[in-house]
């Protein structure tokens, strides 16, 4: 797929002496939502860190928006248009909610209708109520909304979500899924990691499954829904 927004080929990476990724292939097209699946410790977060440039790539190629991103500094990759919502949310505890949103905001792509503070507050009204609270004074769900809002404020072409709803209350989860669906309708490309397959089958167009650092399966939601053997083999705990 040469017109893919993000394309990862033969990605290998690891930590110090231990290699974790042994060949990850995945594509995200424009306006497409792709999920990255796999059991605990299979290398999903490691893939995200490599795409973001936070972990050096040992082999393989990462291209984004037609440019080679392998070995680029994280800030250049972010500036090219990838918005990260990291595992564990990592909102800045030393900044207020509003400052978290403003501090790294940008519109480098020159988007005509960019994300602004008002728009994020309209999108997540709970953040507006908490705007003066510090990042460590709000609930986990609010932190996740803040992490998503913070990424949106960089006006990314691709949203990279690691553990979109982990550890959140059911109602809050539903709200996050709801908001992600709205982003998809808006045409935003998304690469998402989460443990709730049912919700991902509804939201995502395609899925990539990782097994011990390799991408072993990829296909549409329909294909995954109709394939209990694959689900059982790679995803059941």
């Amino acid at each position: 797929m040469s017109d893919a927004l993000l394309s990862v080929r033969g990605l290998e990476a690891g930590y110090g002496g231990s290699q974790v990724l042994f060949g990850v292939d995945l594509d995200v097209g424009c306006g497409e939502v792709v999920s990255l699946l796999g059991r605990n410790g299979m290398g999903k977060t490691t893939t995200v860190l490599s795409i973001m440039g936070l972990l050096p790539t040992r082999a393989g190629e990462i291209r984004f928006a037609g440019r080679a991103m392998t070995c680029q500094a994280p800030f250049r990759i972010a500036q090219a248009g990838i918005g990260l919502v990291p595992e564990g949310r990592q909102v800045f505890p030393t900044l207020t909610v509003e400052e978290n949103l403003i501090a790294t905001a940008s519109n480098r792509g020159g988007r005509a209708a960019p994300w602004t503070l008002e728009r994020v507050y309209g999108f997540f009204p709970r953040l507006a109520e908490r705007r003066r609270n510090y990042g460590d004074e709000i609930s986990g769900g609010e932190q996740q909304m803040l992490a998503i809002g913070r990424a949106l404020m960089t006006n990314p072409k691709l949203l990279l979500l690691d553990e979109a709803t982990e550890g959140l209350a059911p109602l809050t989860r539903q709200e996050i899924w709801d908001r992600l669906a709205a982003l998809k309708r808006d045409g935003l490309s998304i690469l998402i990691i989460d443990k709730t397959i049912e919700a991902l089958l509804v939201l995502a167009d395609r899925h990539v499954i990782l097994e011990k650092g390799r991408s072993v399966w990829s296909g549409s939601s329909r294909a995954l829904a109709d394939d209990p053997v694959t689900r059982d083999r790679y995803l059941s705990v």
Binding site: M52, G53, L54, A73, P74, F75, A78, Q79, G83, L84, P86, Q90, F92, P93, T94, L95, E99, N100, I102, A103, T104, S106, R108, Y134, D136, R150, A151, T154
Partner: protein
């Protein structure tokens, strides 16, 4: 002891504290944001003073010298960061301490080669050399009020800067998570350089301001550096507010201790032991303060990791 004398020493302490703040501000940001221990920070203070003297010789005007010494301090700080210090950020603290100690030795020696080992002086302009009446029969030098005024204004400006600008937000966010900042599109190296240059310029400003009242000599930054470290440890590493409060505390306690400790001891001890113990106790005062603060609040008065 007369209240007028206490008042004078209080002002002296304030003036000393304000200078300490200017040096400590850069030190605490560089330590807090970059996790970098920069012993060479005191050198920036010394260089500010030497640059003021050098530009005074060139221009013959104190104000022109001060105005030129500041950007020169900034440029020197930036050059030092790019050429030497930048390569030390990824190293451990011990390497940083050793390498920046080397920078101190090198630059103290360099200053001797350029300007000689003998202490230099800088004359105050007519405009600033008078004194103003504080109360009946008590006058206080204008220039020391100028130092206090400049220091307090810079502190206020810095407070606004750190709390109300984007760069200030990034500096505060950087105290807790630099990787996340760069993953959101911020060139962290450039941010570091800006913070560093700014801190160097503030230390340079302190050096410029003391040039007319202290002798300008090699190694003059070393004593100040130690006190600046005491200040940032008391205030909480990475916190501008902490550095401000701690610098004033240290300045006032140190000055009052040196002036009145012996007299105070005389109230409870005979004269001769008081004369012996007084000065010793006075010079320990700020370290006792540091120990007390660390015992009660190990992260300092205003820990920056949790909140600015």
């Amino acid at each position: 002891m007369p209240t007028s004398l206490v008042l004078v020493q209080l002002f002296n302490g304030l003036q000393f504290g304000v200078l300490l703040f200017l040096v400590a501000a850069g030190l605490t940001l560089v330590f807090g944001v970059m996790d970098f221990i920069n012993l060479a920070h005191g050198v920036q203070y010394m260089l500010g003073a030497y640059l003021a003297v050098a530009f005074y010789r060139l221009t013959g005007s104190f104000f022109a010298a001060a105005a030129l010494a500041l950007p020169a301090s900034l440029l020197f700080g930036l050059a030092l960061e790019v050429v030497v210090l930048r390569h030390l950020y990824v190293r451990d603290h011990l390497s940083q301490v050793l390498a920046t100690f080397g920078v101190i030795l090198f630059l103290n020696e360099g200053v001797k080669i350029v300007w000689g080992a003998a202490p230099l002086n800088l004359a105050l302009p007519e405009l600033l050399s008078g004194s103003v009446p504080l109360m009946e029969g008590l006058r206080y030098p204008v220039y020391r009020f100028v130092i206090i005024g400049v220091g307090l204004s810079v502190a206020g400006g810095l407070y606004l800067f750190v709390n109300h600008t984007r760069i200030g937000m990034l500096v505060r966010a950087g105290a807790s998570n630099t990787a996340m900042i760069s993953a959101l599109g911020v060139d962290i190296k450039r941010l570091f350089t800006i913070v560093f240059g700014f801190g160097a310029m503030l230390a340079g400003l302190a050096g410029v301001m003391v040039a007319p009242i202290l002798s300008v000599e090699p190694g003059m930054g070393d004593q100040v550096l130690i006190l600046a470290f005491v200040v940032i440890v008391i205030g909480g590493i990475g916190s501008i507010r902490g550095a401000f409060v701690a610098a004033l505390l240290v300045g006032v306690i140190d000055t009052l201790g040196r002036s009145f400790m012996t007299d105070a001891l005389r109230l409870v001890l005979p004269a001769s032991p008081a004369r012996m113990i007084g000065p010793a106790l006075a010079s320990m005062g700020i370290y006792l303060l540091m120990a007390a603060v660390l015992a009660l609040r190990p992260a300092g008065l205003f820990p920056a990791k949790g909140r600015a």
